[in-house]
Assembly symmetry: C2
Homo-oligomer: 316 residues x 2
């Protein structure tokens, strides 16, 4: 049985031949395939196209930075009021020319208009200046795919339409979870003080203590690595006092407002598919020869959302 | 009762007056202090000096980058063989002039000598070319401060001398946990193939599935934000094929080998102190007015290690 790593691309091979930490999804290319379970990557590679979906352009934001595009999927099933407002803000170009004005290590980046005086801030245009908090909703009506493992922060965790989520059978409520890449609507002290104009993306260890304390509105699907490397602002909270250190936002637009030729073409694995269940199980118990101890567990925020380039030219 | 945020510094005030995500440790400066519990920050501010410790220069590494210094504390109580080797490698300047040659988003940075051919790699000098794996050890003899909350990956979790750790009462073993900032020794397929020459630091969501699968040797105490912003290398694993994109390492030296005048002067909160227990409890149940729902829980890797500048000129 050859070393499974020998089938990696040339440089990877070279680097892996030296001491290395494995990929999060090691390619398990053992030739003795019939005798052993598939790795998560092999399961994805063998998945039927029906287990993948394209993004709805009306629920997809493109954040255009000098470094490239961040693709965000909005979650109207959890935060309909905020998503409506965000659609309006995007259509009217609210964020165009604004900036990412906060980057706190192991926590979040935050963007919008940091102007101190409320009267001097950029107009919200046709968007609403006041919205109800959307911290949680009724669990009924959601297609909730539960993870098998316990979670310290919630009675039950899993996925809804690709979004990491939690629910409480005792109260019949469900909410999105603060995992890496989660997009939320900043607020002041009052629960209902967010409008969706000030947004943040989680770029560190999942701050689950924020769950049910702030309205989550979506998640980054592609390009998170453009946000996670933004140099950290000053302690303690990473707000850039110097405007020159802020990261300019060229534009944030709905995919549906972008000409089809300029759209990204991504497919996301359906989290209610057998492929997602099998790939997650392969991560709960890694059977790659590199692993000596199988965890028999996975935390909600350790489950990646598989994303791939679309084969056809579906917009997304 | 004034808005507690009004006591923040001027700019922070301005930004917090607009919609914002709170700090991970909100300054809870309500004037009605007698009537309510202290915040984590207030607990730290009021802590006796005896609850803090300086770093042992013989167990402290300085990684010198163009961007600044990363301070690492080694854990000989968990990985004595690897720490011995790392001390030797540092004393002999093994990493000086080498590079960080991998940055994988939401996972790790990795550094050392990426040369493909083993025969062409930089000599380990007096360091050992072979070490036993140090994935776990006997729990007996460790000062283990348990967290009150359950963990999905291990029967029990807590802290040992500042290091996030786990233990299994059934087997009597203990091990360090892969939290943000953990420093580990890369290895090949064989469990005992690490030498400490190739090292990685966790820069993403805690990859706890690596626990007991690889030898952890310490943790970053200061300067992690210099590593976490390193631009990500190419998919899937973030290895830079182009040497020009690697981050040069000026030097990695033991603090004890650095002239006292050039040392950092840090103090770390003792994780067996009443202050650490109280600050952790304040994070398990946030009583800041911003929080509407208290988690009643904290995950091991969400507990920060408080670090401060030393008041005296103790080396560390």
């Amino acid at each position: 049985v050859p070393n499974p790593r020998l089938l990696s691309p040339a440089l990877l091979l070279a680097l892996l031949a030296s001491a290395a930490v494995p990929a999060q999804e090691p390619a398990d290319a053992d030739t003795d395939a019939a005798a052993k379970p598939l790795s998560a990557q092999e399961i994805l590679d063998a998945s039927p196209d029906a287990h993948w979906r394209t993004l709805d352009p009306a629920n997809t934001l493109y954040m255009e930075l000098d470094a490239g595009r961040v693709v965000i999927e909005l979650a109207p099933q959890f935060a309909p009021g905020h998503v409506d407002n965000i659609r309006t803000l995007a259509k009217e170009g609210f964020w165009d020319g604004l900036s990412i004005y906060r980057s706190q290590d192991n926590f979040v980046v935050q963007f919008g208009d940091p102007t101190e005086e409320e009267a001097e801030r950029k107009s919200l245009g046709s968007a609403k200046a006041h919205l109800p908090a959307e911290f949680e909703r009724a669990a009924a009506g959601l297609d909730f795919t539960a993870l098998p493992d316990p979670d310290g922060w919630a009675p039950q965790v899993g996925f809804v339409d690709g979004f990491p989520a939690a629910r409480d059978p005792a109260t019949g409520t469900a909410w999105m979870a603060h995992c890496y890449g989660a997009l939320g609507a900043g607020r002041d002290m009052a629960a209902d003080s967010s409008t969706g104009a000030e947004l943040y993306v989680v770029t560190g260890q999942s701050p689950r203590q924020l769950d049910r304390n702030i309205t989550l509105v979506g998640r980054v699907v592609d390009g998170i690595e453009l946000l996670s490397v933004i140099p950290r602002g000053p302690d303690p909270m990473g707000f850039y006092e110097d405007p020159a250190r802020r990261t300019p936002i060229r534009a944030i637009h709905l995919a549906s407002e972008v000409p089809p030729a300029e759209r990204s073409h991504l497919e996301v694995l359906r989290t209610d598919s057998a492929t997602f269940a099998a790939a997650t199980e392969a991560r709960r118990n890694r059977r790659d020869g590199w692993y000596k101890v199988r965890a028999g567990h996975i935390d909600l925020c350790n489950v990646p959302l598989p994303v791939r380039e679309a084969k056809a030219d579906d917009a997304g």
